[in-house]
């Protein structure tokens, strides 16, 4: 019912606005995903997503955007979710100016169907915020520089889980080389507070390890805080090959600064929400190719390789005799996690315009991921295929 009301409100908003200050987009996507939670258990499902975005333009440089998106999983309905997003974007600078200023702020709420069922997992929903401020300057006819700051925050419905807040500063430049290729370089620094289980914590008097075992219910109270800082550099080369094909080759390298080797985060099998389990350092290289070779179609394909070193990760031990997971959690079971990931994708879009200016776009996307890890639970493959229909009006 909530979803119907939201979609109705958005449709009313559409119908009451004039065409020169409003546009909207409805997307419906359906497909198969071969590994929902990206682990060795390979939980697969069919899903459908319906999404409606409305954009309201005010003055010369302001945009207010609202999105409602619902995803339904057929065999795992508890994972079905509703995403509500609202945002504002300001571009106060005129397009004829050398200086460009971009500012955006978004709020994103995700709630899962499980919240309304007997399976009480109402704590897994979250609210995300992001704010981005960036300034650009056109140096010459084919070169520009930019710098900016962004802030991200995730507020979990489970109040035991600490907010995940992160600040990032970045600077970059773009210039044309050889007349038809572009080089883009970006560097950045990120800093945020994080919470971790210390690998050992000795009792001040009796000198025994108080982090073993972590009692049920104490998963979050044993955590300590620290700063997670990292720097990254990412050069990109893009250009054309022939008349109808463009490519983009991106290399990225990120490194933690003053990494705390005692810090342990909860892994997949612990059942504890762990915002920093996905933080990693390492390098990545990806190649994307876009082609208009076939008239009326946009073909995008790419391949990527990631070398990821995560924070030390704790999992539940598995009894080799019974195959059952240990009920005990302990930082003694923590291990360094290093993943090597390979990904391929193929996308096909066929935009069809109408004389009234509306666009309908069928699309197809195929993804393949292969991930190998130093921790067995993260050894997995994923093959996903989806089709979509996008209406822009």
């Amino acid at each position: 019912m909530r979803i119907v009301l939201l979609f109705t409100q958005l449709l009313l908003c559409i119908s009451s606005s004039s065409a020169d200050s409003f546009d909207a987009e409805f997307t419906t996507t359906g497909g198969f995903i071969g590994n929902i939670v990206k682990d060795s258990a390979t939980l697969e499902d069919n899903y459908s997503t319906n999404s409606l975005t409305s954009n309201l333009y005010v003055g010369d440089g302001a945009l207010f955007s609202f999105t409602a998106s619902h995803t339904y999983y057929v065999f795992n309905p508890g994972l079905s979710n509703l995403l509500l997003k609202s945002g504002m974007t300001l571009v106060p600078t005129d397009d004829s100016s050398r200086w460009t200023v971009f500012w955006s702020a978004n709020r994103r709420i995700i709630s899962f169907q499980e919240e309304d069922t007997e399976v009480s997992t109402s704590d897994v929903g979250s609210t995300d915020y992001d704010v981005l401020t960036s300034v650009g300057y056109k140096v010459s006819g084919s070169a520009s520089v930019r710098f900016g700051h962004s802030f991200f925050s995730t507020d979990y419905a489970n109040k035991q889980v600490r907010n995940n807040n992160r600040n990032e500063w970045f600077a970059g430049g773009n210039m044309t080389v050889l007349g038809r290729a572009s080089v883009d370089l970006e560097i950045g620094y990120s800093k945020g507070e994080y919470y971790f289980a210390p690998e050992t914590r000795l009792h001040p008097i009796v000198q025994i390890d108080t982090t073993y075992p972590i009692k049920p219910g104490d998963e979050y109270s044993v955590l300590e805080s620290g700063d997670l800082k990292s720097v990254y550099i990412s050069p990109r080369l893009s250009g054309k090959v022939g008349r109808t094909t463009g490519y983009s080759l991106t290399y990225s390298y990120r490194e933690f600064i003053d990494r705390n080797d005692r810090a342990v985060v909860y892994g997949h099998t612990t059942g504890a929400i762990s915002p920093w389990a996905s933080s990693y350092e390492g390098s990545a290289v990806s190649l994307s190719v876009k082609s208009y070779r076939f008239t009326g179609f946009i073909i995008t394909t790419g391949a990527g390789y990631w070398d990821k070193r995560y924070l030390k990760t704790m999992e539940r031990q598995v009894d080799s005799a019974t195959g059952l997971q240990s009920p005990l959690l302990s930082t003694r079971f923590a291990k360094p996690r290093q993943d090597y990931q390979r990904r391929l994708f193929l996308g096909l879009q066929r935009p069809i315009g109408s004389p009234s200016g509306r666009i309908i776009e069928p699309s197809l996307r195929i993804d393949y991921t292969s991930n190998s890890s130093s921790i067995g639970v993260y050894d997995y493959t994923d093959f996903s295929i989806s089709t979509g229909l996008d209406f822009k009006f």
Partner: protein
């Protein structure tokens, strides 16, 4: 470390190789005042006209499309500020057209690359309910 070194050399080789292909394939002369600029990283010149706003530049369409009724903001040259005479005609743009034009000039600023995977699917714009980044049942994915 050796893996990192190998990756660096592979990337360097690909850069040189692709740059070479770009030069050898330069059958099209740059005409007019507009320089090749690719801020969104799809390999194509951002200044290429896309009158109907469908994502396919006019030059790859079978016939020149009619302007899109609500979003056909004149792009012109994003470096018009550097030239004495701007080709962009300025006559009462609507809020939508004006915003589209301004947003176009700062498309390299609208996101940063701190998320290594954000660049991987840049420009595809296909919604997917399967995309991760959330926690369910205590598991973040």
């Amino acid at each position: 470390m050796s893996c990192l070194r190998n990756q660096f050399f592979v990337t360097a080789f690909l850069i040189v190789f692709l740059a070479g292909l770009s030069v050898s394939g330069a059958e099209e002369k740059v005409t007019g005042q507009k320089a090749y600029v690719d801020l969104d990283g799809d390999g194509f010149d951002d200044n290429t006209d896309d009158t109907d706003g469908d994502g396919i530049p006019d030059r790859f369409e079978k016939r020149v499309p009619a302007p899109r009724a609500v979003a056909a903001a004149p792009r012109g040259d994003i470096f018009a500020a550097l030239k004495k005479s701007s080709p962009v005609l300025r006559f009462s743009l609507s809020p939508l057209e004006s915003f589209t034009l301004r947003q176009f000039t700062c498309r390299a600023q609208s996101k940063c690359r701190s998320d290594f995977e954000s660049e991987f699917t840049a420009g595809l714009g296909i919604s997917s309910g399967s995309s991760g980044g959330h926690c369910v049942g205590g598991v973040c994915f």
